[in-house]
């Protein structure tokens, strides 16, 4: 294969795919990092919220909701679910000494229940909602499906929106203050408990949004939450728990590493490589590339 052919047929599409996949992972990991950065909670059930978003979209679509409406409605529906989980379950164990471990265990149990419940309601077989945008464009000989382009654009906008809210609005300032010093923020009149609930709800809504967006490409089935779990956690750790910039940078970097690595090494090794990067990061610089939300 000539160099030109190689770039056109293999390298460029790979980079494009890595980019799209990176945006998807960032959307999922964003919620995870906000939840950890603010609440110090490792949400092992994050993948299941991603799956829940996709399934809710499926149900609503079957009663006639158009796709564009789903992008707004599903996250809105997920927010009360997330808020309830935080207030009713996580808050119960939040003040114990082993908080990190107990919340991890609690969300682990939640993920088991959620996954089996999805299987109970929907069955084990896969579903696939229709592609909302068909067709593709050819750019310099590279084949780019339109929906994936849309995903990249929409994902980037969503990420930008989250960053804007967190760093440029009063609400975001309250969130960051609560993350930095909970007690001080509370004594300044910030409703810290409600902020926590809201932040968890927001993180979960982001996961659900990712579920809606990715469903036409990756299909919908009860164990789909496992797809992204390890990679999302790695992105959050490498980027720095709580850092939005970290998630974006780490997400793009790691997915490109995966995409390029799978060209030169057997694709089965991409998981160990990504995992290895996580281990090295933890050993060398445990706070990740960018550190924590309150301290960004």
């Amino acid at each position: 294969m000539s160099a030109g052919d190689y770039i056109q047929f293999v390298l460029a599409p790979q980079v494009f795919t890595g980019l799209m996949f990176g945006i998807a992972v960032i959307l999922v990991a964003l919620g995870l990092t906000i939840i950890f950065g603010l609440l110090d909670v490792i949400n092992m059930a994050h993948g299941e919220f991603y799956a829940l978003g996709a399934f809710i979209a499926l149900v609503l679509a079957s009663i006639g909701f158009p796709f564009w409406l789903l992008l707004a409605v599903v996250p809105l529906l997920m927010m009360p679910v997330g808020y309830a989980v935080e207030r009713l379950l996580i808050q119960r164990v939040f003040h114990s000494k082993d908080r990190h471990i107990t919340t991890l265990l609690l969300t682990l149990g939640l993920s088991i229940v959620m996954e089996d419940s999805l299987r109970l309601v929907f069955g084990a077989n896969p579903y696939r909602p229709d592609m909302p945008i068909h067709g593709a464009i050819q750019f310099l000989g590279i084949y780019l499906p339109t929906y994936r382009l849309f995903l990249i654009v929409f994902g980037a906008v969503a990420i930008g929106f989250v960053a804007f809210v967190v760093y440029r609005t009063r609400l975001g300032a309250m969130v960051r203050a609560a993350a930095f010093d909970r007690h001080m923020a509370a004594s300044l009149g910030i409703p810290v408990e409600r902020i926590f609930g809201g932040a968890f709800a927001f993180g979960v809504a982001l996961a659900g949004l990712a579920g809606v967006l990715l469903a036409p490409i990756y299909s919908v089935f009860p164990t789909m939450g496992h797809d992204f779990l390890l990679l999302a956690f790695t992105v959050v750790i490498v980027g720095g728990m709580g850092s939005i910039a970290g998630v974006v940078v780490a997400g793009l970097f790691l997915t490109q590493v995966q995409a390029i690595a799978s060209l030169y090494i057997s694709p089965v090794w991409t998981d160990p490589i990504v995992f290895g990067i996580m281990v090295i990061m933890l050993m060398v610089r445990p706070q990740g590339l960018f550190g924590r939300l309150g301290h960004a």
Binding site: V93, I101, L105, D116, L120, I237, M283
Partner: protein, 329 residues
């Protein structure tokens, strides 16, 4: 020493003793009935209880949550199967598994012990996933089919010989084995090393200030836990005659963690009772509905939220109140 820990451990020992008595009665009934299935199911539960003990050592005594302990269990099982297929010697299989556990535990310990808390949990999770995948794709280890053909062997214990095919005999052997491990761990906790492990969980910084190396302590504990998991894993192919990559999967690790939490973190006996409870629940609920995971998941969450000391933890507290000499505050 009459501190709370000693009292707590005495309570644990009483409960362990109760368990032993119950198990012996069960074995006697089963033997008289000529039963095979329930004895072997209970034996399997005991083997996995060993894995749960290994998780409890880490979680209950150093505060480290390992989400990948099934790695060592599965490796021990595979090594045991490979050895048994070559030579039908119980002791050789156990020795090989022990060495495997120690060596891989050291390697894993070096990787995982740089970090604590949730990072530690994630690294242990990742290690188990990676190795499980490697085994899943290795044809010489049976790949996704696993290895069958592990023969039934005779175990020579001096005066008696137990065959792994004998339901009651092998059950009693595994019971004795597990209780021996429990006894060793309980003894360990009375030693200075063991006391420091518990101090680690209580307040790690203070241990460091007192001049002890926390890294060495955690590493030592991790290797011990890995060895225990491996050695218990070695018993699995003797019981079932095969091994499969599923023994290393996350679901196996998660089951052990669930058993420890429901039983009671840090009680040692809780791990054993918890494992038996989980096996029974799965069996019973599994025959009514396919969705037994929902029930177990909800029970697990309920224990984490409402009963953090676990079932045995609760029982211990009741017992301990009886031990406290009256008149002392």
């Amino acid at each position: 020493m009459h501190d709370t820990l000693s009292t707590a451990m005495r309570a644990s020992h009483r409960l362990a003793g109760a368990f032993a008595v119950g198990a012996l009665a069960f074995a006697a009934i089963g033997y008289a009935d000529g039963d095979s299935f329930y004895l072997r199911l209970a034996t399997e539960a005991l083997i996995f209880a060993g894995l749960a003990l290994s998780v409890d050592i880490l979680l209950g005594y150093t505060g480290l949550l390992s989400l990948g302990q099934a790695l060592y269990f599965g490796l021990g099982a595979y090594v045991s199967a490979l050895v048994l297929k070559e030579m039908p010697s119980f002791w050789a299989a156990l020795a090989a598994a022990l060495v495997t556990g120690l060596v891989t535990g050291c390697i894993g310990g070096v990787i995982a012990n740089r970090v604590r808390g949730v990072y530690f949990a994630l690294i242990t999770f990742g290690m188990a996933q990676v190795i499980a995948k490697v085994i899943y794709n290795t044809p010489s280890l049976g790949a996704s089919d696993g290895l069958i053909g592990v023969p039934v062997i005779d175990i020579h214990l001096g005066l008696i010989t137990v065959s792994t095919a004998s339901p009651a005999g092998f059950f009693l052997l595994v019971l004795a084995f597990l209780l021996l491990i429990y006894a060793m761990l309980a003894y360990l906790l009375e030693t200075p090393f063991g006391r420091m492990l518990i101090a680690l969980r209580a307040n790690e910084q203070r241990v460091a200030f007192l001049g002890f190396s926390t890294v060495k302590l955690r590493f030592g504990c991790y290797v011990i836990a890995a060895a225990i998991a491996s050695v218990c894993g070695a018993l699995y192919p003797m019981l079932r005659g095969f091994v499969a990559p599923e023994l290393l999967f996350f679901s196996t690790s998660a089951d052990a963690v669930i058993a420890v939490v429901i039983g009671g973190v840090g009680t040692l006996t809780g791990a054993i009772y918890g494992s038996m409870l989980i096996v029974m629940l799965k069996s019973v609920i599994g025959s009514w509905t396919e969705h037994h995971l929902i029930v177990i998941g909800i029970l697990f969450m309920a224990v984490v939220v409402v009963l953090p000391q676990g079932i045995i933890g609760l029982a211990r507290e009741r017992l301990m109140r009886r031990f406290q000499p009256k008149g002392l505050s």
